[in-house]
């Protein structure tokens, strides 16, 4: 008869109660056996756990390489500020990113495609293209809306949303997959010392856009920037910057912006109430909030004198009463500065699944650009030279598109450009002698002597 383990235990229990002495010995033996079993069990389980972990380790390591038919996300993915996909997740090689796998599989620099490639770019993305611009920046907001309309006219799905375009916000957008294009101020990008070369390559520019004037609104009791700086000794003046470009300019002129209300209208209300000392805004353009402000004549725009420190990222601007009748008197002119803007492609670095899709977006934007030159479009578009270069990496698809339309090399134009770049890189900026040389070179290129 086969004895079961249960019967054996019951037999032991029965035997253990036959006498107290013997019972005590039996109980001691039972405890030792139980302890022995527990130790054996722990040892076995520990070993199994260790073996399991050791077995899983190569599987985890193997998972770092791309399985067939899958594309890696090398960054977490955010939607509306919430992480929806973790770093290291996989997604199937679907219709969304047909060229993604090829892009990942070959990490070497992609060769320049022939001109035909610019004419027949990769299929456009099926998802909606998101263009972000700062809500406070009236010009950029309008341009974002018109850009979206133009992309739609080219058959693409697109939408414009408000969002921050400061370097840190763009860095987050690059990581978080939250937007495709941004209308961003170049001055803030160029001033960001945290922008590494690798990060810049992931946010190249598609086109350099027109400059946007930056306005500093302050009470008339404050005559100029120097007086503003001396306010509230110790703590400094309370100056609210509306937008990344406004903040970058304040840093250049030695003022520290204070966090303020999100909307320009709210900041202007605080200024009118005397709670803050000045409001700085870029690209206010036709903003109703600013157009309606200062009718009582208590406020004006402060001049920003041009200094060599403003070179690179800014151009001079001059505002008159036609621009701001409430803030500039009829006989006044206000010297201001304007920040250069750019259309930035987000997460368009080498190896990104998005990069091939930008060819279609660039082609749509450039081919339909004439729509943006219409009279009822934002006037800033009419100042845009799509071929203009900037001190920032350019999206290869845009560069190829421009290059494919350029004519033969012009030696005298190249000479002029080389001289300009040489002069631009001199310490302290160009002087009168540089101006003479450049003018002579320009006239030589244009075929007329000085």
């Amino acid at each position: 008869m086969k004895r079961s383990y249960f019967v054996d235990i019951v037999g032991q229990m029965e035997a253990s109660v036959t006498s107290s002495a013997e019972g005590a010995r039996n109980v001691g033996a039972s405890e030792r056996r139980a302890k022995q079993k527990m130790q054996n069990l722990a040892w076995r389980h520990g070993g199994v756990a260790l073996a399991g972990l050791l077995a899983l380790a190569p599987i985890s390591a193997w998972a770092v390489t791309a399985p067939n038919g899958m594309v890696a996300y090398d960054h977490p993915v955010f939607r509306n500020g919430k992480r929806i996909l973790w770093h290291g997740a996989w997604r199937a090689r679907g219709a969304k990113t047909p060229a993604a796998t090829a892009e990942r599989a070959i990490p070497t620099p992609a060769p320049s495609p022939p001109p035909e490639a610019a004419k027949s770019p990769a299929p456009p993305p099926e998802r909606e293209i998101t263009v972000i611009a700062e809500a406070q920046d009236d010009c950029a907001s309008r341009m974002a809306g018109e850009l979206v309309s133009t992309l739609r006219a080219a058959g693409l799905k697109a939408r414009a949303v408000a969002g921050a375009t400061s370097p840190s916000a763009l860095a987050l957008a690059v990581i978080g997959d939250t937007a495709d294009l941004a209308i961003a101020p170049m001055d803030a990008l160029l001033a960001d010392d945290k922008a590494t070369a690798a990060w810049r390559d992931r946010a190249p520019y598609v086109a350099r856009l027109a400059n946007e004037a930056i306005e500093i609104v302050a009470p008339r009791s404050i005559a100029d920037l120097d007086q503003l700086k001396k306010l509230r000794d110790g703590s400094g003046p309370t100056v609210v910057a509306q937008g990344a470009s406004a903040g970058a300019l304040l840093a250049r002129v030695g003022l520290k912006p204070k966090p303020g209300q999100e909307s320009l209208a709210a900041s202007l209300e605080e200024l009118a109430a005397g709670k803050i000392d000045a409001v700085v805004v870029a690209g206010a353009g036709h903003s109703n909030a600013l157009a309606d402000f200062g009718k009582d004549g208590r406020f004006h725009l402060l001049s920003v004198p041009w200094t060599p420190a403003l070179r690179g990222g800014y151009a001079p601007a001059r505002l008159t009463s036609k621009d701001r009748p409430n803030l500039i008197r009829a006989d006044e002119k206000v010297d201001a500065v304007a920040a250069s803007m750019a259309l930035i492609a987000i997460d368009a670095g080498q190896g990104s699944p998005r990069t091939p899709q930008f060819a279609a977006i660039v082609a749509a934007f450039f081919q339909k650009f004439d729509i943006l030159l219409a009279q009822n479009a934002q006037a800033s578009w009419r100042d845009v030279n799509l071929a203009a270069s900037a001190n920032w990496p350019r999206l290869p698809a845009a560069q190829q598109w421009i290059a494919s339309g350029q004519g033969a090399t012009d030696a005298s134009l190249d000479s002029f450009r080389k001289m300009a770049h040489s002069v631009a890189s001199t310490n302290g900026g160009p002087g009168a002698a540089d101006a003479d040389k450049l003018y002579e070179s320009l006239m030589r290129w244009r075929g007329t002597g000085p």
């Binding site: 520990g46 809306g145 763009l170 086109a207 001079p316 071929a387 300009a420 631009a424 002087g431």
Partner: protein, 210 residues
């Protein structure tokens, strides 16, 4: 002894398990929580239909690279015939004809200083030329405007170039359009201010029927 060995093995297993868990735990980007989301809220109401019927996009059927090259004249016809005659006269005679003087005087509204420009004006002028070399036409105009205001008459000539369709085409500009009328305006002001080379530019504009 065996207890110690087993205990040590258990401890080792725990350490290994912890290490492996730490190593393969999903990575969290630093600073993510502290940064404001780039996209906050949709605000722009963009029409859902196709772009509004603005000027007919004639570019659709034209090969992309050549369609948007600068150079399309945007000025009204105006007194084109008279200007063509003026251009012909300027070409034939290096001395400005008397008929050109009233036009030039009428166009030359800026107060220009005689003599060498100030250092500040020259700096603005140089920065304008640097911007032009980069193709930043709008930026160049801003610097050149300031240079002209500060007394560098050569800036008027180059301002004319920034509007001249021929210059923009040779520069390889894409998208931005020339404005022959404004170019002629600036050239005339430069000529009045003593920049003789402007005469040839005015003649060239007239010869092209601009």
């Amino acid at each position: 002894m065996s207890m110690m060995v087993k205990g040590g093995a258990g401890l080792l297993a725990g350490v290994l398990a912890g290490s492996l868990g730490f190593a393969f735990w999903p990575r969290v980007e630093p600073g993510v929580l502290s940064l404001r989301p780039a996209v906050e809220k949709p605000v722009f109401v963009v029409a859902t239909e196709a772009a509004r019927p603005v000027s007919a996009p004639s570019t659709a059927l034209i090969p992309a690279p050549s369609m948007a090259l600068a150079g399309a004249p945007a000025e009204p016809a105006g007194d084109k015939n008279g200007l063509v005659k003026l251009a012909a006269a300027l070409r034939s005679d290096p001395t400005p004809p008397s008929s050109a003087a009233p036009l030039a005087r009428g166009l030359a509204t800026a107060v220009l200083k005689n003599g060498a420009p100030s250092e500040q004006a020259a700096r603005f002028f140089a920065l304008g030329l640097i911007a032009l070399a980069d193709g930043d036409v709008a930026g160049a105009r801003a610097f050149l405007d300031r240079a002209a205001d500060d007394g560098d008459t050569r800036a008027l000539m180059v301002l004319g170039d920034t509007y001249d369709p021929a210059t923009l085409t040779r520069l390889g500009a894409v998208g931005i359009r020339g404005d022959a009328a404004r170019a002629r305006d600036y050239y005339a002001r430069a000529l009045t201010a003593g920049v003789a080379a402007a005469r040839q530019r005015i003649a060239a504009l007239g010869a092209k029927g601009n």
